[in-house]
Amino acid sequence: MLLLIPTIFTVNLYLIALLFGLATFSYASFSTIANVLPTDLYRSDSVASVSGLSGTGAGIGTIIAFELIGHLSDARQASGIHSFDPIVIVAGLIPFVGMILVLLLVRNTRATDQGLVRRI
């Protein structure tokens, strides 16, 4: 999703579509794995609860992001075609941080040995 960043250098529709396409391709492949995490890790009667929690986490992140996008893009209206540049740069970087945190947090732990979480 880092590929969103170069879009700030172009107004070519096809190039923008290509770069956004590559970014959403990566997002969606990661998203499928993220959607399977609760089903793989938890028992059936907790799956929807954990899936719901992760959706709420996503929502809080999105609300904060939208608030910033609205204010920043209005404040930078004078920059015309570059009004969304800082937004796109941050959007490219954040998922990378997320991926590293997931790799650190989702491992087999003592809870796995106790049968609270399934082994991965």
Binding site: L22, S31, R43, G52, G55, G70
Partner: protein, 298 residues
């Protein structure tokens, strides 16, 4: 041994590989869910002009959806675990289809925000519901593909939406454009009520498929004694990893789904000529969903 498609001692006909039909209707639900919500994003550049909205105004309307969607996912997730997938998703789709129809009555920021809030509340049940349905119907080795299948509905819905919504808008205006996706929800509901039952009670599942699924479900449900409480779940690092996996990636996807048309217009690109660009990220996301299945299979 009874074969798929044969009559089971006078009972209803079996449906071969029934779980993939279930996967199909979950996919359809996600497609409709996305068409419903994309209607506003696609029309946003035009509504912005008509109603003289700033980007902050639009952000507030989009956030009204997100607030309900955010709270709704946890609430609906728990609710879904209580009332069951069949009833839970029926309520959800009925709710947001009615709201989509009612959005055509909106006449300013407050009413748009109210309808978006209600839409978000209803739509939030889709992912917890679909995850639950997958855990009820699919063995572990197929869950990745099943999740990719239903999740890809978001990309397909997003890709279809501009082609469905913009021509209606150009011909009949934005109010009619909100009615179309609302109607699709009711069509889906008919299929869902007919098709979805848990494997234990499904009248059209073959014995072989039922046994295969139940063996798998039993393995999951004997892993612990009782349902984990909130605080037990929140103590597990795996839960936080799962939350972060969505919290730091979904906002970027929602930037694309909710802001892309406005972003393109800010870049000096008109939506009529930029229809391709609105469509490509969704198509690419669809391919991405299925590419993950390859990773999961390794």
């Amino acid at each position: 041994m009874a074969l798929a498609g044969q009559i089971d001692s006078g009972g209803p006909r079996f449906i071969r590989s029934l779980r993939w039909w279930i996967g199909g209707i979950l996919f359809a639900s996600t497609v409709i869910n996305y068409i419903d919500r994309q209607t506003l994003s696609i029309l946003a550049p035009y509504l912005k002009q008509d109603y003289h909205w700033t980007n902050v105004d639009y952000a507030n309307i989009a956030i009204a959806f997100r607030i309900a969607y955010t709270i709704g996912q946890t609430v609906c997730g728990r609710l879904m675990d209580r009332v069951g997938t069949r009833r839970g998703l029926s309520i959800s789709v009925t709710w947001y289809s009615i709201v989509s129809l009612m959005t055509s009555l909106a006449n300013g920021i407050s009413s748009f925000a109210l309808f978006r809030f209600l839409l978000g509340a209803g739509e939030s049940a889709n992912w917890p519901g679909a995850s639950k349905a997958v855990s009820e119907w699919f063995p572990k080795r197929e869950r990745g593909l099943a999740a990719a299948f239903y999740d890809s509905g978001s990309s397909v819905g997003g890709a279809i939406a501009p082609f469905l919504i913009l021509p209606v808008y150009f011909r009949w205006g934005w109010r009619v454009a909100f009615v179309i996706p609302g109607m699709l929800g009711f069509l889906w509901l008919i299929g869902w009520r007919w098709l979805y039952h848990v494997p234990q009670e499904h009248p059209r599942i073959s014995d072989a498929e039922r046994q295969m699924i139940l063996a798998e479900t039993q393995e999951i449900n004997t892993a612990g004694k009782s349902r984990l409480r909130w605080r037990d779940l929140l103590r597990l690092p795996q839960t936080w990893g799962t939350i972060i996996s969505k919290a730091l990636t979904d906002p970027v996807w929602f930037f694309v789904t909710d802001w892309f048309p406005i972003y393109l217009v800010a870049k000096g690109i008109s939506l009529k000529s930029g229809l391709l660009a609105v469509w490509v990220p969704f198509l690419a996301a669809d391919l991405g969903n299925f590419s993950a299945v390859v990773f999961l299979a390794i």
